[in-house]
């Protein structure tokens, strides 16, 4: 699925900017989501590793 397929009829520049915007949004959301996960799970994982 390409930018052209996401926004049929859009100019190449708009399609390219849409793809970049989408990747940026995904990256920011994943960074935030995994950050929350890290805060919750990191102490548990560290403790487990130290016990091994």
């Amino acid at each position: 699925m390409t930018g052209t397929e996401l926004l049929p009829g859009a100019s190449p520049t708009v399609a390219a900017l849409l793809v970049i915007g989408l990747v940026l949004l995904e990256a920011a959301l994943l960074y935030a989501a995994y950050g929350i996960l890290e805060d919750v799970l990191a102490p548990v994982v560290f403790k487990r590793i130290q016990q091994i």
Binding site: M1, G3, A16, L18, L30, Y34, E38
Partner: protein, 339 residues
């Protein structure tokens, strides 16, 4: 969901796992995106423009995540990255023109292939020799007492030549704008010439020539990757060849991997891993050479061997980073859990 992204569940999972491995590399070394992803996509049968375009968009996304992580640790020199970017952009333009010029002579493929093999081998040898450390214990202690103990000797020598205008780096040291522009231009030239992101050249160049700490070189290289990835993604996005499904799946894995890789830099002694990274580059050089030979002699099996060598060595180094990270956590039980 998978139908919407245009991928089967198996391929989606494969990309998530592969993305994780690349993310660990990206986070730890500040490089390793396009030179792993593009060949993998090509082997999986994606057309070359889709492989390169999707790889560029993925490098951009992963660089955003890894840069944010290094930003939190204060390891990104944004001014240095921005100054280098001007040189990088000009270098990419010059490099691509050089390729088109060689193309008209009919020797582009051979020259680019040989240059790629030699460059990977040279950087691999540099890292391996540096990690094997021919310095004595006394020299190491003397270096530890030096004010710029994290800066290699060659960089200290280059920095000693004060050619104005001098720019102040984030760590307070100074570097000539000529050195910064030269490094940017050189990295861009190689990037445009070889058609790769260039992180495997950018990070060592920042470390060995401009003379930042290794952590700052990694963070700043990632910021450079973010900017050049954005330019590449825009260029290929205009051509409509970026597969959003592939990029999303790879990002899902790499976002986690980049966090772990970036976090590991705070715990793992770089010397423990650098030798493996140097060896991986040497194996990658061999893998690319086999790929070239495969293309010249039309022996498809060599292409498969090349792919296995590339992915296998990358997987091994990724496992080494995670292993040393776990060991470091066990040895330093009083270290705070969040990097």
């Amino acid at each position: 969901m998978f139908g919407l992204l245009g991928l089967s569940a198996e391929v989606f999972a494969l990309f998530v796992v592969f993305g994780f491995m690349v993310g660990v590399f990206f986070g730890f070394f500040g490089m390793g995106g396009s030179f792993l992803v593009t060949p993998a996509l090509l082997i999986l049968g994606y057309p070359t423009p889709v492989a390169i375009g999707s790889s560029m968009a993925f490098v951009f996304g992963t660089a955003v995540i890894a840069t944010l992580k290094h930003h939190d640790a204060g390891q990104v020199d944004y001014r240095l990255g921005a100054l280098m970017f001007v040189g990088i952009t000009l270098g990419i333009e010059l490099g691509s023109r050089l390729v088109f010029g060689l193309e008209t002579l009919g020797i582009a493929s051979v020259v680019v292939g040989v240059a790629y093999v030699l460059l990977l081998a040279a950087i691999g040898i540099l890292f391996t020799r540096s990690a094997m450390g021919d310095e004595t214990e006394a020299e190491r202690e003397a270096a530890d007492d030096a004010p710029d103990d994290d800066v290699p000797e060659i960089a200290r020598k280059i920095k000693s030549y004060n050619i104005p205008p001098m720019m102040t780096l984030a760590d307070g040291s100074k570097a000539s704008l000529w050195t910064i522009s030269g490094v940017g231009g050189g990295v861009g030239l190689i990037s445009g010439f070889l058609g790769v992101g260039g992180g495997f050249v950018r990070m060592p160049a920042i470390y060995y020539v401009i003379g930042t700490s290794l952590a700052a070189a990694v963070g700043t290289s990632l910021f450079g990757g973010l900017m050049s990835g954005a330019v590449g993604a825009f260029t290929y996005g205009r051509a409509g060849v970026i597969d959003v499904g592939i990029v999303t799946a790879l990002l899902l894995g790499s976002a986690l991997g980049a966090r772990i890789g970036s976090g590991a830099t705070a715990y793992v002694d770089e010397d423990d891993v650098t030798i493996y990274f140097g060896l991986m580059l040497l194996i990658a050089s061999l893998a690319v050479a086999l790929g070239e030979v495969s293309a010249w002699l039309a022996i498809p099996v060599l292409d498969r061997v090349s792919f296995v060598l590339l992915i296998g060595s990358a997987l091994f180094v990724c496992a080494v980073i995670l292993y040393h990270g776990a060991l470091a956590i066990r040895e330093h039980r009083d270290v705070a859990p969040s990097a």
